[in-house]
């Protein structure tokens, strides 16, 4: 009876059952998008904490783990744009930053245009729209939002003047953005309601009410406000045509209008990974190198005149999938994307430097979380869970109603109300009652609606 001697091993102790570690194929699916010839697969991010519980792998959020693994590498940084790698973060957050950069970071842009004269061929509204899109070189953090009831003042408005004309007999001229002239003292147009001043020394009321000149403020004294680029064509004037206007810039966000977006664009892509599944040598290697339009592959000499293909520049791969097309190339080359490695590019329009923009974007997400978690602050939570005594006053009713309120008191115990006052209609009404809606206002309670069907 030899069989009896073989020890019984529980199935979980068998050597091929992984413990505390994902098997390689699952690990690949978790961390990589596989770009196969027909469609990308395993594109989702598996974030549920218990996703791998059966394999003894904890998939929950470990901040320490995040801290140890998160890395940022700056690749390129200029005044206008930057590229950096964000490694060890989820697409949800990378995308949140991108969305905030595009739509929720404020800048200043021209919003109101007061046109005194426009005899050019470009219509007033089109001209105003073009002006709105001119990026301004000014830090929006130094300004406040202007709400509907605010008067334009030096803290929320920047005023520019544009006066350009083309003399008769001369050739056509271009109106460029450098002709926008900053008026640090505010508007120069007097309100149409204003009577000609009897006293010539008093300043007439204009479309803005500045308390002081903006160029006297320390932030702007050495750094005049103006368009970021001097050579943006705003309009073209023919002989005898003229434009005279005033443009008022205010603070706003990209989600209201794209002119307030501080980035020309902000985008990311996941790091491409090109893997040679087999050695590719000789002519096949030459063919592979030729296949790739962006020269991802190189040829390596491995001695004795033999040549082997290597992946030299995976980062420049565009995942065009040319290298896995035809025959059984997909058995030789695998194209993947690393799910937690983002190549992030920010192109600033000029109000702020790209690195400042990103920091501000992260701050905005932080503020959102802070605002939300403040609402669930401990004293509010306590109110909901504590079970103080709730005296209920019933103005009229009979046994049936009493029993009913006895029942609801059980639930009201969880509420924190010093005093609850309930107005009850006739018992006839209550008997057919299906829904009672009670509206509580801090400490007082009132039946709002008695719906009987």
């Amino acid at each position: 009876m030899e069989e009896k001697k073989t020890p019984k091993i529980p199935v979980w102790d068998l050597p091929d059952v992984p413990k505390g570690k994902l098997p390689p194929h699952l690990e690949l699916q978790r961390t990589r998008v596989l770009c196969t010839s027909d469609a990308p697969t395993h594109t989702e991010n598996i974030r549920y904490s218990g996703a791998y519980a059966s394999m003894g792998v904890d998939n929950s959020l470990r901040l320490g783990h995040f801290r140890d693994n998160f890395r940022v590498e700056v690749i390129r940084l200029t005044e206008d744009d930057m590229e950096f790698d964000m490694i060890g973060i989820d697409a949800a957050l990378a995308n949140a930053f991108r969305r905030i950069l595009i739509a929720e970071l404020p800048t200043m842009a021209i919003e109101k245009v007061l046109i005194a004269n426009n005899t050019s061929v470009i219509q007033d509204e089109v001209l105003a729209h073009r002006l709105g899109l001119v990026p301004l070189r000014v830090d929006p953090r130094l300004f406040e939002y202007m709400s509907e009831n605010d008067v334009p003042n030096e803290k929320n408005t920047i005023v520019f003047k544009l006066h350009s004309r083309c003399e008769r007999g001369s050739s056509r001229v271009k109106v460029l953005s450098n002709e926008l002239q900053w008026l640090p003292r505010g508007s120069e147009f007097t309100l149409s309601t204003e009577k000609p001043a009897a006293d010539p020394t008093s300043r007439p009321r204009t479309y803005t009410s500045f308390n002081c000149s903006q160029d006297s403020l320390p932030d702007f004294s050495n750094n005049p406000i103006g368009p970021k680029h001097d050579d943006i064509i705003i309009a073209k004037l023919g002989p005898g045509q003229e434009i005279e206007l005033e443009a008022h810039a205010v603070k706003g966000m990209g989600k209201t209008h794209a002119k307030w977006s501080p980035v020309a664009t902000a985008w990311y892509r996941m790091l491409p990974e090109v893997v040679l599944l087999q050695e590719i040598e000789g002519e096949k290697a030459e063919e592979l190198v030729k296949k790739c339009p962006v020269k991802v592959f190189d040829i390596e000499d491995i001695g004795k005149g033999r040549k082997r293909a290597t992946v030299a520049r995976p980062r420049s791969c565009t995942l065009c999938r040319e290298c896995i097309r035809g025959d059984d190339w997909d058995k030789h080359v695998a194209l993947r994307r690393v799910k937690d490695h983002f190549i992030f590019t920010i192109e600033s329009t000029g109000a702020l430097n790209p690195e400042v923009l990103f920091t501000e974007a992260v701050k905005i997400l932080e503020d959102k979380c802070e605002r939300l978690s403040a609402l669930f602050s401990p004293h509010l939570l306590k109110q909901k869970t504590e079970s103080p005594k709730v005296p209920i006053f019933v103005t009229s009713g009979d046994l049936r109603i009493g029993a009913f309120f006895f029942e609801i008191r059980f639930f009201l115990k969880r509420l924190h109300f010093e005093f609850i006052f309930i107005l009850v209609g006739t018992c006839k009404l209550l008997m057919g009652l299906e829904t009672i809606m009670i509206d509580f206002y801090a400490g007082e309670c009132q039946i709002l609606q008695l719906a009987s069907e």
Binding site: R47, Y48, S49, S60, L61, L63, F66, R67, F70, R71, V72, V74, L77, F84, M86, I89, D90, A92, L93, N95, A96, R99, I100, E355, F358, T359, V362, K363, L365, E366, K368, C369, E370, R371, L372, S373, A374, L375, F376, S377, H379, L380, L381, K384, T385, E407, I408, F411, R414, L415, L433, E434, T435, I436, M437, I438, D439, F440, Y441, A442
Partner: protein, 142 residues
Amino acid sequence: MGSGELALEKRRQQLLLLMNFDCGLLILLYDYCFDNVMEHGSYQDQSQATFSLTDEDHTLANSLRFTLNQDPRVTFCGYSIPHPSDARVNIRVQTTGDQASEVLKDSCQDLMLICQHVRSTFDQAVVEFKNKKGLDAMNIEP
């Protein structure tokens, strides 16, 4: 805006009693209204609730879903935007027993910590890059 005190002041609590005398069923639902958040839940079971946030979108909701999903106390979470022209997002949280609002709050704080770490790492990387570039420039110029 958004401070606890202000929220307390603005607090408006609504109770919805759904009663069915026949089967003796009494479900007590609540709506907590804060600044821009409304919590819909039931008193019998506070481990599940829907949070309706105004003036928020995928940006916050998806990030929160990310942190919520990784919380072992959460059995289900998801979000939806009921209508694209309505600046509102509903976040559903169901837990293994803990109070849903508490879990959501913890997730917010996790997300905040993550953001802080991202910011400091990023700033550091930028400073390092600038220093390196400065050094490179110095090496080339003379």
